[in-house]
């Protein structure tokens, strides 16, 4: 029986390696996709220049404050600032050529200063935005808030308009109906600012003194990627090669299932069934050959990523191989299940490609699962590809130990048993079944 089993496995491997189309689909395409997405997600050195968010600015105020605000925005490395007119900006956003347009209204500088201390009506900055770029909009608003606070406070605490605003605010304070204690406290604050400004003017250093940059965030962040070790940098290719490796291995499993389905429709199935072979040998050999091809694909893909992009198994190598082996077995069982449940080749191919893409998408192969809504993150634990992707991430760039691989391996083996059992139970053994 071993001769038959080995012959069946050897034949499948030989067919795979002599089929250039299968090799291309199984190896070259995931490498191309993994390389591209790895580059998009940061590459391996973290110095990949990312695209700036295109933002148009219309300065209708043309004051010192508004000019300073535009300069502040332009100095931000995340924004690509260009001047425009209201009509042109609206058209550009509508066509998607700009993510947002900021319209700074006339008298913005004066009105913003008044609003800061005197509680006058706040000037409105019109923000036109492309609704398909909601995430970027939040980023633009955050940068705009910081720039406005910095620019307006700088003007108040040193600019010519600021001094006039403080004097004007003191005069208006005396006429206000604020409670006596509040009025006294605010008067002291404004007089303090007035004295500061006068001192700066006497020193001839107005605008260039200690408060020349205005109000800024009172903290700075120090970003540190937590990966496998202090000297290890995150490599964006690790996740993308893992994700696309998983996707194309699943496609290979799918193809193995379709091939088995097609086999039933030609004379080869009759010839195999005419031979003294048990169904265990026939289906088992198919599963073993599919698993061997799957693990070969994963190893070649990660080998390429290692050589070309420096992706390393920074965690447990045994864990990595264990995850690869468990996922390969799961893929083989998945292929058998496709063959068992498929009716016609054409329909099965359509449905199973859709199912595979959903599995891959919800497994975090394309984008990490932490971007999913919480309920979806919880739901995807029933998705085998989630375990495969998490397991590969854990053993590569996260640098986790073997114990962290046990969960994914166990989960993938459970899926293997489930899919395998369904396949054996459902497989139409006889022609009339």
């Amino acid at each position: 029986m071993m001769i038959q089993f080995l012959a069946l496995v050897r034949k499948d491997l030989k067919l795979f390696f002599t089929d250039r189309r299968a090799l291309l689909a199984g190896l070259v395409v995931p490498i191309i996709c993994g390389s591209f997405f790895g580059y998009l997600f940061g590459g391996n050195k973290g110095d990949t220049e990312t695209g700036k968010v295109p933002v148009l600015v219309i300065d209708q105020d043309e004051s010192d404050v508004s000019r300073e605000l535009v300069a502040q925005l332009a100095s931000n490395s995340s924004l690509g600032i260009n001047p425009s007119t209201p009509a042109a900006a609206r058209e550009a956003v509508r066509k998607g050529k700009a993510t947002a347009a900021i319209i700074i209204p006339k008298n913005f500088g004066v009105e913003a200063g008044r609003a800061l201390f005197a509680g006058d009506a706040k000037p409105a900055i019109d923000l036109l935005y492309d609704p398909s770029h909601a995430l970027e909009l939040d980023m633009v608003k955050g940068i705009l808030n910081g720039a406005v606070m910095q620019t307006v406070s700088k003007e108040i605490f040193g600019g010519k308009n600021g001094r006039e605003l403080v004097t004007e605010s003191l005069a208006r304070l005396e006429k206000s109906d604020l409670p006596s204690e509040d009025r006294t406290a605010l008067r002291d604050l404004l007089n303090g600012v007035k004295n500061w400004n006068e001192q700066q003017e006497r020193d001839g250093a107005a605008g260039d003194g200690g408060f020349s940059i205005g109000l800024t965030m009172p903290y700075a962040t120090q970003d540190q990627a937590i990966t496998s070790g202090q000297n290890s940098e995150y490599n964006g290719y690790a996740h993308s090669f893992g994700g696309f490796g998983v996707q194309f291995v699943l496609f290979m499993g799918l193809d193995a299932g379709i091939t088995l389905l097609m086999l039933r429709q030609n004379g080869l199935w009759q010839r195999l069934r005419a031979a003294p072979l048990s169904r265990t040998v026939l289906l088992g050999s198919r599963a073993v050959s599919a698993a061997l091809i799957a693990i070969f694909i994963l190893l070649v893909i990660f080998g390429f990523a290692r050589v070309v992009f420096g992706v390393r198994i920074q965690g447990s190598i045994a864990g990595f191989l264990g995850v690869c082996a468990a996922f390969s077995l799961m893929t083989a069982a998945f292929g058998l299940m496709v063959a068992a449940f498929g009716e016609t080749v054409e329909a099965t191919r359509g449905y199973s490609i859709l199912a595979t893409l959903i599995l891959v998408m919800l497994g975090g192969a394309w984008v990490p699962t932490f971007l999913f809504p919480v309920w979806l993150q919880k739901l995807t634990v029933i998705n085998p590809t989630r375990w495969a992707v998490d397991g590969l991430d854990g053993m590569t760039w996260r640098g986790l130990g073997f114990s962290a691989a046990l969960g994914p391996i166990a989960a993938l083996l459970v899926f293997t048993l489930l899919f395998g059992a369904l396949a054996v139970m459902r497989f139409r053994w006889r022609i009339e079944d």
Binding site: Q4, K14, A274, P276
Partner: protein, 310 residues
């Protein structure tokens, strides 16, 4: 020997095979003849064990197939109607694989492959991929793949579909060689010429039922008008067909335009008598032909429909 007894298979409301019985002995080619959809392939599938019969049994050398791995299956060699080859593998690799399915490996497998390739005259193409083979070569390799384990019984399901006449003749010669070796061959076809040329006995099946099972000469006897001589006359003046009826061996005679058609009991004896009588009575002729009832006519007689048109 292959023995089929009361085999019946029903698919839903269709009785594909209805109480089929026949036998095929060693050194004999038995033709299973019938139109498309008559039940030939289903019968072969039942014999090979792909289908489970609703009733009846198949005995291979006196034994039935009890399980998927029953050693009795080694006595069967199957040549499926659809080509059962891996196009991307070489002829030799294909045969190595099919030999291994029957537990043959190493020297035994190599010898079996060599013999099979030699029989179908593909030894010099063994290393080439099957996808570069012609249709006829593929058919011959398809046959070779069924011979590797030296089965006693060969099931050939329309093995010449789509091949050129030269390859067809080559396959026929292969099959005749196998017959001489004492193999039992069950040959399904809907080509009457193939059955007439090859088969020692013919089982005619229609609508799942065996409607005739005999040798070709015996089947011919089922058809009443078996031997006809057709004579193209120069002139028909004064010829009275009823006078011919008085001649020995003559069963009937009729004149249609300038053609005289005479049915005789035996062509070899009747033809000289008729031709001599025509010459003696001054009836000259310019063409003579004979007609013998073929399998098509037999089939038409038995079923009421033409084999080719069904």
């Amino acid at each position: 020997m292959l023995q089929v007894e009361g085999l019946t298979k029903v698919f839903g409301e269709l009785t594909a095979v209805n109480c089929v019985s026949f036998r095929a002995n060693s050194g004999e080619i038995v033709g299973l003849l019938g139109p498309n959809g008559a039940g030939k392939t289903t019968t072969v599938s039942l014999i090979a064990g792909f289908l489970k019969p609703d009733s009846g049994e198949v005995l291979i050398e006196g034994k039935g197939i009890q399980s998927d791995t029953d050693p009795v299956k080694r006595e069967i060699g199957l040549v499926p109607q659809n080509l059962a080859l891996y196009d991307k593998l070489s002829a030799h690799d294909n045969l190595t694989f099919f030999a291994a399915l029957y537990g043959l490996a190493g020297t035994k497998a190599n010898e079996a492959i060599k013999d099979a390739l030699s029989l179908v005259e593909l030894s010099d193409r063994a290393g080439e991929k099957v996808d570069v083979f012609s249709g006829g070569m593929k058919r011959r390799l398809n046959l070779a793949a069924a011979l590797l384990h030296d089965p006693q019984i060969l099931l050939l399901d329309e093995p010449t579909v789509g091949v050129d006449p030269q390859s067809r003749n080559a396959i026929f010669e292969n099959l005749e060689t196998l017959r001489k070796q004492g193999k039992t061959l069950l040959y399904t076809t809907h080509y009457m010429e193939e059955a007439e040329r090859l088969c020692d006995r013919i089982v005619i099946i229609d609508h799942g039922k065996v409607i005739a099972d005999d040798t070709l000469p015996e089947l011919h006897k089922l058809f009443p008008a078996t031997n006809v001589i057709a004579i193209e006359l120069d002139h028909v003046d004064a010829l009275k067909p009823e006078k011919i009826l008085t001649l020995p061996e003559v069963k009937s005679a009729e004149l249609e335009h300038q053609t005289l058609r005479v049915e005789v009991h035996d062509l070899s004896r009747g033809a000289p008598i008729i031709l001599r009588w025509l010459a003696e009575n001054g009836h000259s002729y310019h063409h003579v032909s004979t007609e013998q009832a073929d399998l098509e006519t037999v089939f038409l007689t038995l079923t009421g429909r033409s084999l080719r048109d069904t």
